[in-house]
Point group: C2
């Protein structure tokens, strides 16, 4: 590669309904005074990245459309979903929320120069690229001896898990429910809740996920595929007192089942029948869309309930810089313990565009966890 | 009737799954020092009363099961819904949230004595009865010359409509959406919003409901049955800036369609594409259940949204006594204008148990509005 250009993965939704993911060669830009250039060596493939990478495309239609030198894949966006993507049609967008790498050039400011040669974690998009020019403030210097692969997931999952607990405290709840609970994020949340003494009800779909969580110390794990699911959930909610849930699934009946189970617990404590149900708060936040289908609520949970969307960035904006800084400091301090991520495979940018790899990492919720190393040969 | 007993309508869910509504003869109780006995002369049949009256019973199974002297009706509760009513099985419950009548006996306190002979509006349940003994604080003395029929609906609809506007102000919204908007409540809400200069988007299902609302001055009326519904709704939301909706329907796709339309308006103002959608608040409160079916959300409205239950009593508890008193004072001051209710028929307690009348008043949302006069011969 030339020193003047580098490879960047881009996703383009075309007016025809084709979604094309390709590697573009983009010009290296000089860092501004307060900026640095980082050689990106590790960037995770999170579900939130897949949303930008493939949008609403039908993943069964993925096919290779590039060459060996210039790999690309294309998939069809169903016509009904094309409108929802209208804001991005015709723009070739870089992808990759977060990553880590080594600072190889810096701007003229002291703060920038101080980072020269350091390994940093980064948040800010466009991480699926050999290089990333960004502001010093978007970099989190990692302790000496930390590998980029160890710092690649410093932001999205750790801050999301910590922010769930923070939301719980700020909104007056005392325990949590989490779905798709065996995920990397879910495992972090278990470690946080165990350390902080918070009741956590883990909802999973498979026996091996139950075992995985119990093996890391989870006390309450319920399987939504079991015939006894509602009974088990009510028992776990009774034991923990959880009235707040974070749901990564989104579609189907699960969010409503959680509200129903919370209401069963609340009504069991009422001294007098009310046809409006309990007035105990019951909150489910949908923060992911592993099931893109409609959310179906069979409203048998009284009149005091709330279901809403939840997203990390607006939450951090709401709590402000100082509170966010505290969360970030905890992530760095516990990077190799609480917030350690496990990846099944490390792949190059070109490998990220092979239909085989896509088939493995794009299986929302049950896929393997991949790490992209854009400088892997 | 004997002076020692009076007729009271009661609803009983039996363990067998039969729901029986009958007239019971109950003993007259002496008023406590701070209580009065009111001869009930007018009490409306609101959707919220129907919830207690017939619960989850299948209204196609209603049949007469009493005698001419002792009328009763029975309907079947579908087995799947019986569990949701388990808290009330075996208890014969009085019905009727609100009403008005004349004070005929009083307790010994000055406050109670001052009400003797007065026409008062009442809130507190058990109004479908010839008499009601209740606390002075539950009575609202009506201005001289007000008939009980004019004061029968002083609380539920007027305070709900005013509280919707109050919720809007307290939660930082500036305009409203309302569904089933041609209802008595919806008409009140139009009169309040016109008087207070608040943008109101009325959603109805039929052309004659559109006309009814336009005739009382509604500016934004959209028909959810029209092929152009989403387009019309987006236009009305754009014009008003409404980001808060109160939905009386509950089931089906409407709540999600409102969130989607709000998001279309919000996204049209974004300068840059975000795959997470807009971060403008979008709130829908479900306050009724005219459609008892599941709520179906096709989540195409970003990550910043909230759907929840809303109920008058907890809202008034939250805003406190002083703020509630202000709302009540406005109701009394505008009882014959803003808060006037229209009824199609006045019926006796016995008539309320005729399958014909039930067929008319229990057609949620499209039924006629009935007033019960428990002392009608």
């Amino acid at each position: 590669m030339s020193a003047d250009t580098y490879l960047q993965l881009q996703s383009l939704a075309k007016p025809s309904g084709d979604l094309e993911v390709s590697l573009a060669r983009v010009p290296m830009t000089d860092p501004g005074p307060d900026e640095v250039v980082v050689r990106v060596e590790a960037s995770p493939l999170n579900p939130s990245d897949l949303g930008l990478l493939f949008g609403a495309a039908d993943m069964t239609t993925v096919r290779s459309t590039g060459t060996a030198d210039s790999p690309a894949v294309t998939a069809k966006i169903p016509e009904a979903l094309l409108r929802a993507m209208s804001g991005r049609i015709g723009q070739s967008l870089p992808v990759g929320n977060e990553g880590a790498g080594v600072v190889v050039r810096t701007g003229s400011s002291d703060a920038a120069k101080a980072l020269m040669g350091k390994t940093v974690a980064m948040l800010g998009g466009a991480m699926y690229a050999q290089f990333r020019t960004l502001k010093v403030a978007q970099c989190l210097p990692l302790p000496d001896g930390t590998k980029p692969s160890e710092g690649a997931s410093c932001f999205v999952n750790p801050l999301t898990a910590l922010s769930m607990v923070e939301t719980m405290r700020r909104e007056g709840h005392t325990a949590l429910v989490h779905t798709a609970a065996a995920s990397n994020l879910g495992q972090m949340l278990n470690r946080i809740c165990i350390a902080d003494g918070i009741g956590l009800v883990n909802i999973v779909r498979k026996p091996d996920q139950e075992k995985l969580l119990r093996d890391i110390g989870a006390k309450y794990v319920v399987n939504s595929s079991a015939a006894t699911f509602m009974h088990d959930l009510v028992a776990a909610l009774t034991a923990t007192g959880a009235t707040l849930a974070f749901d990564a699934i989104g579609g189907g009946k699960l969010a409503g089942q959680i509200l129903t189970a919370m209401e069963i617990v609340a009504v069991s404590k009422l001294k007098e029948y009310s046809r409006y149900g309990s007035t105990s708060p019951k909150q489910v936040y949908i923060y992911g869309g592993l099931d893109r289908g409609p959310t179906e609520l069979t409203r048998g949970f009284g009149m005091t309930w709330s279901l809403g969307g939840w997203l990390l960035t607006p939450f951090l904006q709401k709590i402000g810089g100082e509170a966010t800084q505290k969360l970030r400091a905890r992530v760095v301090a516990e990077l190799k313990t609480t917030f350690a991520s496990h990846y099944n495979r490390e792949i190059s940018l070109a490998e990220a565009l092979s239909p085989d790899a896509i088939g493995a990492y794009a299986k929302f919720g049950t896929g393997e966890k991949f790490l992209i190393n854009p400088n892997k040969k």
